[in-house]
């Protein structure tokens, strides 16, 4: 699979190339938005990683242009960390937004996740009980949880908490509500238990548990699975 890496800093492009080649990908390089669009047109590219601040054509414009003709996954890479920058990037059509300085392993994980999601056909309806939220899938018949096609091992309590939230996507559950649902006991002396389980689930299903895509923390209210991610 071919990945196009575009950043005006050559060393960053080369470092990303090394990591991607180690994972068995082919890498094409570009150093500004125009080059990236050209390569996207001329070659068969499966995924694009693009920086925002670049000469000639910046990453936001390039992404916007690319989206007119292509539906491949695009990951934006940027030193801008503001929420508004992220929202802008995702709004012009990027699939993911990674801030600099990034952990290279996290970037590779995100590349793989995007590709799996892009290439895996949506699960065939086999009459099984399946709950889905983006790339997160629970098969309640097999008690199996997959994220972008990759299986995740959860403990029974973690599984039940995740199932509860998945069955009620978008609904916010407080700690005591989760406690009462899962343990079937009245929540009198609640403690950190539920919160700890939630963090463990996040560490297993999220690439970056501090910025969860699926299991969101609503601070001071509870937890929920994002209805549409």
């Amino acid at each position: 699979m071919t990945i196009l890496v575009c950043d005006d800093d050559k060393e960053i492009v080369e470092a990303i190339e090394i990591y991607l080649i180690q994972e068995g990908f082919t890498v094409e390089k570009a150093y500004n938005g125009e080059q990236a669009l050209q390569k996207l047109k001329d070659l068969k590219i499966d995924l694009m990683i693009i920086d925002v601040m670049m000469p000639k054509l910046d990453g936001i414009r390039a992404t916007f242009q690319a989206r007119k003709t292509s539906s491949i996954p695009i990951i934006i890479l940027s030193a801008k960390t503001e929420d508004t920058d992220k929202i802008l990037g995702l709004n012009v059509g990027a699939d993911d937004y990674v801030t600099k300085p990034f952990n290279p392993l996290e970037l590779v994980a995100r590349v793989k996740s995007q590709l799996r999601r892009y290439t895996t056909l949506s699960s065939v309806d086999t009459g099984e009980t399946i709950y889905e939220a983006g790339g997160l899938v629970i098969n309640d018949d097999l008690k199996k949880v997959t994220v972008d096609g990759e299986e995740v091992k959860l403990t029974p309590i973690e599984y039940n908490i995740l199932l509860l939230l998945m069955k009620n996507k978008g609904k916010v559950y407080s700690i005591s509500q989760i406690y009462e649902e899962i343990w079937n006991e009245e929540a009198i002396g609640v403690d950190n238990t539920v919160a700890v389980h939630i963090r463990h689930i996040r560490e297993k299903i999220e690439i970056n548990p501090k910025e969860p895509r699926y299991l969101k923390v609503v601070w001071g209210v509870g937890y929920k699975i994002e209805a549409e991610s």
């Binding site: 960053i12 030193a79 600099k100 700690i175 963090r199 609503v218």
Partner: protein, 462 residues
């Protein structure tokens, strides 16, 4: 638009006065001629009629333009004469007219030549007209301004006594001076309370009070300029830090990536491995530092969007505890939590309040002495939800009480050396975020005991 300049007005006045002199002389001449049955009465009468008509026409025009500066400007401009009370003006005018008649009384008997008498009559007529014009135009201006009656000695007296009676204060305190003093005092109070747009209208003050009013105005101006400057500087600083940190992040990305690549190179040399480990740690710390720096500067310049909601403080503390328990366990710290049963609702931005509390937990996880307990409490007292976290510091805390304050300053840490992890921004971020959301942040140091509290007003159950 047509302008009424002083030149035009003066010219009209001069023409008007020429007509008046003509009329007076004409009338006087007619009388003189009639008395002595001389010739030429017709001509003199014609001259006086021309003078009469001309003076009335010019007077009418003056009435129209008096007090105005242009056709487009509806403001009525008053001058020095208009400051004299209407009734005082009247008395002065009547006095003057009386004086004129008194002096002109013997004019008929004087045995002057006709030409001499004409000059005398013309002069008297001219002087009277000047005084009349001054009074008349002043009345015109003030009736246009709607102050003809209010701006009179009698009216002011009535008003003053009415005020004395209605407020039941001693007459002394109702004087203009007292009123103006009171206004200045009010202005100073509102400036002290932070209303920096309070401005006194200097023209409405007199004497000493005017000087005071001017001084108050200039203090206000200086103060508001200083405040604006500070806000601007703080913004510029925040922008600078954001831009610089963007520029730092790009090379830092390469450093982090290549250090990581070096780690995978299976180096045999033990020294080299050690060096890489150090590089790795330091570059990670640099990364953390740049991120915290941007956050801290944004928060201290108030550049954060808040999403204020009703949230449950108790839930938030449990959630935070869940994020941290392993970090505490790793350093053999025990969290002892004492929270109320049921929920405690406050108004805050959950995410930002979490960040503030997260910083306090991180602080405890980093700086608490190993194998001790960390106490986390939430109490409700006098309508305030008071969150507190207490821990025993592993290094001595600053002894000087003033330094409690300093710990929340950027880059200040409890220990003098700067070798350990942490950016020194945690407490500053926590304090500024809390204050931004309307809560109170406090630190107490007692020997090795470190206590941080965050309090918010409790919301009712509606």
């Amino acid at each position: 638009m047509k302008e009424y300049t002083t030149g035009i007005k003066s010219a009209v006045i001069v023409i008007h006065q020429m007509f008046i002199v003509l009329m007076v002389c004409g009338l006087f001449g007619t009388g003189y001629v009639a008395q002595r049955n001389l010739q030429g009465m017709g001509l003199l009468m014609l001259l006086s009629v021309i003078g009469l008509v001309g003076s009335f026409v010019t007077l009418a025009y003056l009435t129209g333009i008096s007090g105005r500066k242009s056709t487009d400007d509806p403001v009525i401009y008053l001058n020095m004469v208009d400051k004299v009370y209407t009734d005082v003006q009247m008395v002065l005018f009547i006095g003057f007219i009386y004086l004129m008649f008194y002096m002109g009384r013997g004019l008929r008997k004087l045995d002057f030549a006709f030409s001499g008498l004409l000059v005398a009559a013309g002069t008297v007529g001219y002087l009277m007209d000047v005084v009349f014009l001054i009074l008349y135009l002043s009345i015109v201006r003030r009736s246009k301004d709607n102050t003809l009656l209010t701006h009179s000695f009698i009216y002011q007296c009535i008003r003053f006594w009415r005020q004395v009676i209605s407020t039941k204060q001693s007459p002394k305190r109702c004087t203009k001076k007292a009123r103006e003093r009171y206004e200045i005092q009010k202005a100073i109070e509102s400036i002290a309370a932070g209303a920096l747009d309070t401005r006194l209208d200097v023209d409405s003050f007199h004497g000493q009070e005017r000087e005071l009013a001017e001084a108050v105005n200039s203090i206000r101006e200086g103060l508001s300029e200083a405040v604006m400057d500070r806000i601007r500087n703080e913004r510029m600083k925040a922008d600078l830090i954001t831009n610089v940190s963007h520029d730092i992040k790009t090379p830092l990305t390469s450093i982090v990536n290549y250090v990581d690549l070096l780690k995978r190179e299976n180096l045999e040399n033990e020294n080299a491995q050690n060096y890489i480990r150090i590089l790795d740690e330091k570059s990670q710390r640099l990364k953390q530092l740049t991120e915290d720096l941007v956050e801290a500067s944004k928060i201290s310049s108030g550049n954060v969007k808040l999403d204020m909601q009703r949230i449950d403080f108790v839930e938030l503390i449990y959630q935070t505890g869940g994020e941290f328990n392993e970090r505490f366990e790793a350093r053999d710290l025990t969290i002892v939590t004492k929270l109320p049963h049921g929920s405690v609702m406050v108004e805050a931005d959950g995410r930002q309040l979490y960040r503030a509390i997260e910083n306090l937990y991180t602080n405890a996880a980093k700086y608490a002495l190993e194998k001790t307990r960390v106490y986390v409490e939430l109490e409700v007292e006098d309508g305030q939800a008071i969150f507190s976290i207490k821990n025993i510091s592993k290094t001595p805390l600053p002894e000087n009480a003033d330094k409690e304050h300093d710990l929340t300053e950027r880059f200040v840490r409890g220990e003098a050396s700067r070798t350990t992890e942490g950016s020194g921004l945690g407490l500053s971020i926590a304090k500024n975020l809390t204050n931004l959301m309307g809560g109170t942040f406090e630190l107490k140091l007692d020997g090795d005991l470190f206590v941080a509290t965050i309090s918010f007003e409790v919301l009712g159950n509606n």
